[in-house]
């Protein structure tokens, strides 16, 4: 099942990049997609972690949320940069405990923290994330744990 979806996605990817509709080129495209999937299958890399289809829907919703957060954080950091006078920052290092079950969930969470300006993940261990935050407010937002709650973790749709 996962293999078939992967093959379709790879072919779609090929089509989006090339835009050719001639029969010969389409056939060649299908063949190259199939070859890629065959190689990936032999390398044993088509699994839940590298192709998290079971998270697709939740990931989509999560990206909307993340986009909003990034926008807010951007405006905040831009304000701090452009405020004249003494730079209005209070950098600090905080440690967050992670309650994510899967490695994928942890990585998505850590990457989201880094992606929002104002907070950077310094270190990711088994159950803790060390974060450098630009301001007190940013650190407190993370400690409240709103983002941790919405990060997609283990799947709802087993595939």
């Amino acid at each position: 099942m996962r293999t078939i979806i992967t093959a379709c996605l790879i072919f779609l990817f090929w089509f989006m990049l090339s835009g050719h509709t001639e029969t010969l080129l389409m056939i060649l495209g299908v063949l190259s997609a199939m070859l890629t999937v065959y190689l990936a299958k032999r390398m044993n890399i088509i699994d839940r972690e590298s192709y998290p289809f079971h998270l697709s829907l939740r990931l989509l919703r999560y990206y909307f949320y993340l986009g909003k957060e990034i926008l807010k954080a951007n405006v905040d950091v831009i304000k701090r940069i452009l405020t004249p006078g003494r730079v209005n920052i209070s950098p600090r290092v905080i440690t967050l405990s992670v309650i994510k079950k899967t490695a994928l969930g942890k990585v998505i969470y850590a990457n989201s923290i880094t992606l929002t300006p104002g907070t950077v993940t310094l270190e990711l261990s088994d159950d803790e994330i060390k974060v450098h935050a630009l301001s007190k407010e940013g650190a407190e937002d993370l400690q409240k744990g709103d983002m941790a709650k919405v990060v997609p973790d283990s799947g709802e749709l087993p595939l």
Binding site: L82, S90, P91, R92, P117
Partner: protein, 110 residues
């Protein structure tokens, strides 16, 4: 005409954010905080720039490729920032911490 205006607004804003990121790099005190400033150029700056270019391209193969560029930046830039920060920390670079109104001053232990 409308699309042209939107496109140029996005491109100009994206360019301005790049400048803001640069200003931030000069104003912030140490390596870690400068990383935050560059984060602006990475995320909103790049997104606005690509959006502006997308308006220019319209609904063509080119805009699909612009979307792909955005996706790749979206995945690679946090990884790169994290690696930089982690390498700096492992190398023993102590971050500048604010000593006012801090409740539990936590120093980085190596």
């Amino acid at each position: 005409m409308m699309i042209e205006i939107l496109s140029w607004v996005c491109l100009t804003l994206g360019g301005l954010l790049g400048v803001v990121g640069g200003i931030g790099m000069h104003r912030f005190p140490d390596f870690y905080t400068r990383l935050h400033a560059v984060g602006i150029t990475d995320t909103l700056g790049a997104a606005l720039f690509l959006l502006g270019l997308g308006f220019q391209a319209g609904l063509t193969i080119a805009s699909i490729k612009l979307c792909l560029i955005f996706v790749f930046i979206f995945f690679t830039s946090p990884t790169a920032s994290h690696l930089l920060a982690n390498a700096a920390m492992l190398g023993g670079l102590k971050p500048v911490l604010s000593n006012d109104d801090i409740d539990n001053p936590e120093q980085l232990d190596k």
